[in-house]
């Protein structure tokens, strides 16, 4: 599988300089995305999803955060080390990104067309008129009505859903091989969310664009993604294909997460809930970061850092329960209700 990988992140560590010193927001993250694949990245707020994506794009706020360690292989290039010039070429062209807030992600003072044409002309040496045509085509492609008029309108004249479509159009305009979508639908209403997800899936199928889908909504993951990585407190704690993760989650956190989501299909008697709350980044020095909230934690969890143990082919979990040596003793099956 690895050979098809378009992006491969290796022990990425990203730190922020805060009042408490250098705090790792992302701490040794490994994952890959295959060509044409939709990878879901789930996790609760603050676990480092956005930071991971910004690290890949090389868009960490300068002077505030930096990649402290690790490699980011895009195709055959470690872009963690790439120059700003090279990154400019990659951004928007080979890796595109869309953000959570469609309301604020477009510059309010420029027309849609202006912003799209700009995106095209940075990477392609074509005339304004041509670029404009491309932009209109793209807007049509993402299902916007009145594309010809809309291109001269300002963002505030569009609804949230329309803006997110514009964002997608802009991201797709150079036909990137990877699209990073950071919670693209969180700010939208369900009915609109459904439209956008549908659109993305369509684009993925049509153009074979790999998508890194960041979300905290397990429903979205289940519906969209081929493979999933689950993040917790700056680390990936479980990884596997979507069926496996939802059917046979291994890590206690993943299990808890899946069980605590109310289902619209039927009413559970009582929700399962993970006790406690997410630790602040950098606050846990030793052991598994989930140990304090974990019902199955044992001594080792508080003192040692677990690795990402392979549970089966392509399914890994960061939990001592699955550490190879002790695999037998702590066997445990979990079912989602």
């Amino acid at each position: 599988m690895g050979d098809e990988a378009i992006l491969r992140v290796k022990s990425l560590k990203t730190c922020f300089f805060t009042d408490e010193g250098e705090v790792p927001a992302v701490d040794g993250v490994d994952f890959y995305i295959n060509k044409g694949e939709i990878l879901g990245v789930v996790g609760e707020s603050g676990c480092g999803k956005s930071v991971t994506s910004l690290s890949i794009m090389g868009l960490l706020p300068k002077g505030i955060g930096k990649i402290a360690d690790g490699e980011i292989w895009f195709k055959d290039e470690n872009i963690a080390l790439a120059s700003e010039k090279r990154m400019k070429e990659i951004r928007g062209n080979e890796i595109a990104m869309i953000f959570q807030e469609p309301m604020t992600s477009l510059n309010p003072l420029f027309t849609i067309g202006n912003q799209m044409i700009e995106a095209i002309r940075i990477h392609q040496n074509i005339s304004k008129a041509e670029a404009r045509k491309r932009a209109i085509d793209m807007l049509k492609l993402v299902g916007l009505p009145r594309a010809e008029e809309m291109i001269d309108e300002y963002p505030h004249q569009l609804s949230g859903g329309m803006r997110q479509r514009v964002m997608i159009a802009m991201a797709m305009v150079c036909n990137p091989s990877l699209l990073i979508a950071d919670e693209p639908t969180t700010a939208l209403d369900v009915t609109i969310q459904a439209q956008i997800l549908h659109l993305m899936k369509q684009l993925n199928e049509q153009f074979g664009t790999a998508i890194m889908m960041i979300t905290h909504d397990l429903g979205v993951v289940a519906e969209m993604c081929h493979r999933v990585v689950v993040m917790y407190a700056g680390k990936i704690i479980e990884e596997g294909d979507v069926q496996t993760i939802f059917r046979h989650p291994k890590h206690p956190y993943t299990i808890g997460l899946i069980r605590s989501v109310p289902d619209i299909r039927e009413r559970k008697e009582r929700l399962y809930s993970i006790p406690g709350s997410v630790p602040k980044p950098g606050s846990i020095k030793y052991g598994c970061r989930f140990a304090a909230r974990c019902e199955q934690a044992f001594e080792r969890c508080f003192s040692e850092n677990p690795d990402l143990y392979e549970v089966e082919q392509g399914h890994r979990a960061r939990c001592f329960l699955y550490a190879k040596e002790e695999h037998a003793t702590h066997e445990r099956t979990v079912t989602t209700s």
């Binding site: 905290h216 289940a222 009413r267 809930s273 993970i274 709350s277």
Partner: protein
């Protein structure tokens, strides 16, 4: 069901849109447009709908934090809309509110103790000693510790803050609690904690809830009955089971279908709603939903559908059921 605790009839709120030098009114936002429902003692009435459909406005009008434009609200046989400011303050002992944003709804400069004590002070309940004691008890009830009393809101996590908000609402032992999206700002794992807490408290204190949310799963989980709102109107109201298993209104159906299900094997055919939510300042004539409705008929474009009980306890406003 027993007798209703709260009865709402024909409730409306039109916000004026003003402009210009003399604040001339140039239009109005029909935030809530003719709402009628009842809430029974001990139940949880869920209200769902997309953003801007008037859920919060409704919740606030019930407490008269926003003055209704029209309509009646009867709480325990008292007409809320006619109360004097004095009576209103008394009413607020019995009706309380939990807010969506656990960050904004607590005064950042007050200690938790002060925040929780204030409802008691305002209503002149107990001596200082008694009040302090109550505060500590209440903290334990919502799952915090008494030593949290001296801290300030920003020293708590979102979930903890929401617990403080809940504790504040409970201080005066209200009968009805209006919870306006109490969990939508929280992470899934914390959301479950708070939902569980709310359920526990309901049992313990015999509370009645109006639970406002846009997450259909959450609403289903917590509500006995569910009302679905669209553009200031209620389009469907029924038992939670009925709404989710047997949605009648095309909007409800579409809404339920749009919700992503956290189960990769559950594949369903979706009929996506086209288009966006119309603006409440300029709602479509007739049935407000007709612009996006796949079962739209001619009558829908001109005539407002009536609010009708089509099955036992199942109300729908749709021309399909006339």
């Amino acid at each position: 069901m027993n007798e209703p605790l709260l009865q709402v009839k024909g409730l409306k709120k039109y916000f004026p849109i003003t402009a210009g030098l003399f604040n001339k009114q140039i239009g109005q936002v029909k935030a809530v447009d003719d709402l009628s429902f009842s809430v029974y003692k001990g139940e949880t009435l869920g209200i769902v709908g997309e953003s801007g459909c008037g859920k919060s406005t409704t919740g606030r009008m019930l407490l008269r934090l926003i003055e209704p434009t029209e309509g009646s609200i009867v709480f325990e046989n008292e007409e809320v809309t006619k109360l004097s400011p004095q009576q209103l303050r008394k009413l607020r002992r019995d009706m309380q509110m939990i807010f969506q944003d656990p960050f904004a709804s607590l005064n950042p400069r007050h200690t938790v103790e002060k925040i929780l004590e204030e409802p008691l002070i305002v209503h002149g309940i107990g001596s200082k000693e008694e009040r302090r004691k109550k505060v500590r008890e209440m903290l334990e009830v919502v799952g915090l510790s008494s030593y949290h009393a001296k801290r300030y809101p920003h020293q708590f996590s979102g979930g903890q803050r929401q617990r403080i908000g809940i504790a504040r609402a409970l201080m005066t032992k209200p009968k009805l609690i209006i919870a306006d999206e109490p969990v939508s700002a929280l992470d899934v794992s914390i959301q479950a904690q708070v939902l569980n807490l709310l359920e526990d408290l309901q049992k313990e204190f015999g509370l009645t809830y109006i639970f406002i949310a846009h997450d259909l799963g959450v609403v289903r989980h917590i509500s006995d009955r569910v009302g679905v709102m669209y553009l200031g109107r209620m389009v469907e109201l029924a038992n939670s089971e009925d709404v989710y298993r047997n949605p009648k209104h095309p909007y409800t159906q579409a809404l339920l279908e749009a919700v992503p299900i956290p189960d990769p094997e559950y594949k369903k055919e979706k009929q996506l709603l086209s288009g966006d939510l119309p603006s409440p300042s300029n709602p479509p004539a007739g049935c407000a939903f007709h612009t996006r409705c796949q079962a739209c008929m001619d009558i829908c474009k001109t005539t407002k559908p009536a609010w009708k009980e089509v099955e036992q306890g199942h109300y729908v406003a749709c021309h399909l059921y006339t």
